[in-house]
């Protein structure tokens, strides 16, 4: 069977090269969609786990009340660090990061309330952050507590929509891959229908005829997926260096490649799709 499959690949080399190339492009699209999904999921996970809390202090809050609040916060296991920010510091940060015009630069420091900037430990559930916020809000020195929940919620839903879109695209591309494999193999099978006819007339069983074609389809599918993975890897390593720094600053994550299991699954899916496409394409030619 292997010998006949090898002969088939050799005889239809040009057709198979064209097929493998077009299938590789299709698998590249699937891989790209998976890569986008993986990275969006990583961002979503990162945002879900990490958090900040800004506790704005009342004007004229007593130093001992603030110290007591700080002591309570530092005693909580979910709190990573607490940093005091005076009105002057807050104004300085605002002007530094916001790139505002010189008109706003003249704002007095009193416009910016002093605050305690709290870093929440990674992995803290949102419900727990909310509970801390409620508790802290009851302190006399506290004017307002900002957990950026709505901001993260909006970003989270954006990431979720992006992930869903990537999944739908991946599914569509997977269907295209299946159709392309089926049609390519159907073309190869049609070109070799005289061989199939001869074999059937000599008493070949369906499995005897089908075997080499299924092997060829499996090889085509797997090879296409491997080429797509290699191309995706090259593309990823090329663009990674340029986007990694900005991604880390903007989203707090680094770009990640598909993990080993996903790569194996992609290649296995290619092989299975190739085998199934071959087997299905052959059906009409087996009735001799």
């Amino acid at each position: 069977m292997m010998a006949r499959a090898r002969r088939g690949l050799r005889e239809e080399l040009r057709l198979y090269l064209v097929a493998v190339t077009s299938l590789s492009v299709a698998f590249l699209c699937v891989g790209g969609a998976l890569l986008a999904t993986t990275n969006l999921s990583a961002v979503a996970e990162r945002w879900g786990e990490s958090g900040r809390m800004s506790i704005y202090l009342r004007d004229g809050a007593r130093a001992e009340d603030v110290a007591q609040l700080r002591m309570v916060l530092e005693g909580l296991p979910e709190v990573g660090s607490v940093e005091s920010l005076s009105s002057e510091d807050a104004r300085g940060l605002f002007l530094e990061h916001s790139e505002v015009s010189s008109d706003l630069a003249s704002l007095p420091a009193e416009v910016f309330p002093p605050s305690l900037e709290v870093a929440i430990a990674e992995g803290t559930p949102i419900q727990r952050v909310d509970a801390i916020s409620d508790r802290v809000g009851r302190f006399r020195a506290v004017s307002d507590v900002e957990t950026y929940r709505s901001f993260f919620d909006r970003l989270g839903s954006l990431v979720s929509a992006g992930t869903n879109l990537a999944l739908v695209l991946g599914l569509l591309v997977a269907l295209c891959v299946f159709a392309v494999i089926g049609n390519t193999i159907r073309l190869a099978v049609a070109r070799r229908r005289s061989e199939i006819e001869v074999m059937k007339l000599c008493g070949a069983t369906d499995n005897f005829v089908r075997g080499p074609f299924v092997l060829e389809g499996t090889f085509q599918g797997a090879m296409s997926a491997v080429l797509a993975v290699l191309a995706l890897g090259v593309l990823f390593s090329t663009v990674r260096s340029s986007i990694d720094a900005s991604l880390a600053e903007l989203m707090g994550t680094r770009a990640v490649f598909l993990d080993a299991w996903m790569l194996v699954a992609l290649i296995a899916a290619g092989a299975i799709a190739g085998a199934a496409g071959s087997a299905l394409s052959l059906r009409r030619y087996l009735t001799v």
Binding site: K200, G203, F208, V288
Partner: protein
Amino acid sequence: MVRPFAFFRAGARADSRAAQRPILVFDGVFKYFREDQPTLKDVYLEVERGEFAFITGPSGAGKSTLLQLVYRKHTVDQGRILFCGRDIARLTDKSIPFLRRNLGIVFQDFKVIPHWTVFENVAIALEILAMPRRLVRSRVAEALERVGLAGRGQERTESLSGGEQQRVAVARAIVTEPALILADEPTGNLDPHLAIDILTLFEEINDTGTTVLFATHDHSLIASRDHRIVSIDEGRVIEARTGLRSWHGAVGGPGVAAVG
């Protein structure tokens, strides 16, 4: 003659009584491709072991259909066909390959794979039987020698002449040592000289004990030999005679006896 292959299905035991029965029996066979016009009508025919029979008749008479029913390209609509005592019509689809392994089939259009070598075209029939490669090589060499193509196994089939390609097809048909050879207009694409060569080749195969059904509408070919003649016209077997004299008698008028 050694026929080591399973009959119809793997594991089936040979029936010793089958040797006494006709190898092929058509028993009241009807075949319809159109409801109002049967291609074969009530065909009765018996072919004995080791016999050589011409199947003849005008184009469209049903010669090819008769043979196609034997190798189960089509199924009978009524009646039965017994091959070695077994009813072909009742075979399941899975058993058809095992039926065909006991038949050698040769066609007018050769049905050889042009880009394969001569060896590969013949060897495929043995590869299907999962025969060891060493045995395949010796059996193919033997078959090529019988058809006059000894030492030409590595040539590409497309480089051969029409007559040689038909010899490759005959080698493929006999390499498994089948019980029955069905030749469907095997000389139809060949000039008269080559046609006689191919006919002679089939006769040599028949001399070794293999039954041959040779479909042709070439009267000159039939007239040149003294074999049994089964004539089909409009789907009916209208005469079945043994020998050249009977054929001339049938054509001339007296002595005609309808069989089907």
